[in-house]
Subunit: 361 residues, 3 copies
């Protein structure tokens, strides 16, 4: 629970870093520049949107005792730790200061584990977890309390599955996957055929979901099982919170999918793709490698590799910007044309949609 303290010397030793200033300085917390207080270690990463001069000024007025920087700044009284990649250094030190609570190895006495399940070495199974028949769990994997693992699931080594996640039948996870709370892997896909009697008849989904190694899934996201075959997410791809991935969709490697994005069924998304927040992808769409889609893009058709798109339907991001700017001028253009052109009879007014708008908040 309590934070731990370290000398700058100790920390620099772990980072193989150079120290400028008093290496005996003791720090007990890592904090961002904005909120760093007395006794803190802070950092400046060149990727942050802030000029070097502003940072130096803030550091001079800060009560932090030490700072991690890429290159030492002049005229600072606080101790500086210089590393090639400050953010990486912070990542490697963070848990020294405030370790996340760890589950003890072994099976909690309240967990219900099928006798046919196979657990690797140093596996931790938390309170009230349910591990179904024929489940395989690899070495060092941590299953937090209140995780439900249906029958036939395979989970690799060194995975962490957080409380409230559910892993449905026959789903497979590679090694080192991180599944946040409330995730549903392998829910039945949204598949029906029209039926005179019932309206919509269910199509059974007997496929599964496969997450390759190092896939992360954010809180309350869902990945539906395939009808037949597999819904697959490739190695090192990272999925944010409240994302939906539909049945039979494939996602390549190292692809990032941000919050509230919805990918319909049977899509084929490439590797190194970035889908920003709130993107929607229609079903059966193919997106090539290295595509970047701006927030809220509505992707209704295939996108070739390496394109950067925005809008709905999507266009190249440059065109989208020009459209946005042009649209802002359109009301004025219509007014001018009405006054001095053959279009003068067209009416232009925003009043008629007032009623619609009034219901929006």
């Amino acid at each position: 629970m309590s934070s731990n303290s370290y000398t700058v010397e100790e920390l620099a030793g772990r980072l193989d870093a150079k120290v400028y200033g008093d290496a005996k300085t003791v720090v007990s917390r890592i904090a961002p520049l904005e909120s760093a207080g007395p006794g803190d270690l802070t950092f400046y990463s060149p990727t942050q949107r802030r000029g070097l001069r502003e940072v130096a000024e803030r550091l001079r007025s800060s009560r932090a005792l030490a700072v991690i920087v890429a290159a030492p700044l002049a005229e600072l009284t606080l101790t500086q730790i210089s590393v090639p990649h400050p953010l990486r250094a912070v990542a490697s030190l963070a848990e020294l200061f405030k370790p996340a609570p760890r589950l003890d190895h072994g099976v909690h006495p309240t967990a219900v584990v099928s006798s046919s399940a196979q657990l690797g070495a140093q596996v931790a199974i938390g309170a009230f977890a349910v591990i179904g028949e024929d489940v395989q769990i690899g070495d060092r994997t941590v299953v937090h309390p209140h995780v439900v693992v249906y029958a036939g699931v395979k989970i690799g080594k060194s995975c962490v599955i957080h409380s409230g996640a559910v892993i449905r039948e026959y789903v497979e996870l590679g090694d080192d996957c991180l599944i946040q709370n409330g995730v549903v892997l392998g829910g039945d896909g949204f598949g029906y055929f029209s039926d005179k009697e019932e309206g919509h008849a269910r199509i059974p989904h007997i496929g599964n979901v496969v997450l390759e190694d190092r896939v992360d899934i954010g809180a309350n996201s869902t990945v539906d099982r395939a009808m037949l075959g597999t819904t697959r997410i490739g190695r090192s791809s990272k999925i944010d919170n409240i994302v939906m991935i539909g049945h039979n969709t494939k996602i390549g490697e190292r692809t990032l999918v941000c919050g509230h994005t919805g990918i319909s069924g049977s899509c084929d998304i490439g590797s190194d793709v970035i889908l920003a927040g709130g993107v929607g992808v229609a079903d059966h769409v193919r997106i090539g490698d290295n595509v970047r889609a701006a927030a809220r893009a509505g992707i209704t058709g295939d996108i070739e590799a390496n394109r950067v798109v925005a809008g709905h339907p999507p266009v190249d991001v440059g065109l989208w910007r020009r459209q946005v700017m042009a649209l802002r001028k359109l009301p004025g253009l219509l007014r001018e044309l009405r006054q001095g052109s053959p279009l003068g009879t067209a009416k232009e007014s925003g009043e008629s949609i007032d009623d619609e708008l009034s219901t929006e908040n």
Copy 2:
């Protein structure tokens, strides 16, 4: 866990179908055409977006042993099963090959079931399920592990409630409903009145949620309870994942609501409506029967029956398409007018929103 094998003859018998080719062929898996391998049964449904010629070619080069088709194709060496509706046939056969694990009847010893709860015949209650006071559960309903059913709930016959779903007080489900993992039925609606002291004071929600027969709810979707009265979803309506349905809203029969759609409170949605993915509906909106809203439509006012709409605010889909195409031309139009018309003084540039965009990914 393991898949089962069948002769084509056996399968055709179940389907009452004609066989062309070797009826003794043994198949052990159903797979889509793209991934069918040795020993597989595959299928071709005319609803798939692919020409008959392409399909025949793929089938000739496929290592599948048999195929389900609407009408037999010429010059195929694999065995063909001919049925009027191939997808329906696949649906009826799928679970023969890979049965979903079934929960045994009876109450798991770890479940907490109120003594006042009434359970029908052949009900299954999984590990750690909590069944509150006065709950009624109909015959053959399956309640998976880790489902919480609050007091006063009524669940019909032959329902399946998956792990992690929560059914709040007084909610009612008809027969044959399918509730995926993480669904919340009957959370308190988002209702406050403004209050000088507290800012926003809560309005207690004493109404409930009613799902009629054959309603399906996708993973991590939420249906809020009414403040007074009932939030209702009609017979055979199907709700996809991560959908929110607000307090006091009514949805008719056989309506489909796709993923990430949000329907605000007090709406009245008709029957046979389709709301595609990511649609938003403002509160108190009425949508008539047979309306179709394209993905991401923002429905801010009432929509008459049978309309097909898109956009935000919504317009008829044809107009939306024309708007989209016209907008693509707008930057060029402005440029031309600037060069050769009285509008020549207007500036047109996308640069000024660069900063905004840079924060989107």
Copy 3:
């Protein structure tokens, strides 16, 4: 389970209200005007979108026995209860008629509570709840069945945490917070740095989440923990269902965030802000006090206090309306220019995006 009955006199006494008509009338349910039946108490709040004349007519034809109104209406036979704020009166009476089931005080025998946890007076801990090490829970707080509270969490007094919610390590809640089912507080933020070997390397998140007093969080919403420092939601702010709030974001007091809204990381949202349904906010954005964003606004940059915005990127709501109306006229404008102007060579047609649209439903 059953509803309770009261005389109008009793109810008016609790409200300190005037009665017009028969005060001995007995009512057993509160119902909205649309569905009020025999024996019901109904109400009319001037905030409802309906004229006084229409209401009076409906009341005359209603079978309700009594009505709560702001000012008594003439020529009504049913009993009237007159109060300054009818909706507030309904809120204060609602649970008399249909009390929500209450959890008994004490710890359910199946719950797993760490010996180092500190529980206040009259705390209720439901079945299968898990309370981690060093957790503090204030007086009268109710933790429903199947809630998981990780180590080091502090929860104030009189909170209600519904089944299926998860509160991660070191998260802090003030007094009187209401957490709906399936909420995840403190999931790891979506933070990676690029790494040659792994593609994306995780940045540990050692910060936390703080909810101040009277914060409500809707079903299946997620609030991510800060990387360092705190993700904070201010006093009396109310968050609807399926909302995502990113790591390190701050939200002020009394702010309302409606369903399906996504707020990225490191944002600074003011007090008394309203973000309507489906709004998206890019990372590092600052939104001033009293800003109102219409449904589906895509907020890509800072917004000054008191503005009312709509659209993506956002513009003042008046301009947005004019843009929408102008866009509807744009296809016609292009047609006219093509026919009678130097722009006559431009083609205008919606056909070419048909294919894209066809995949949307």
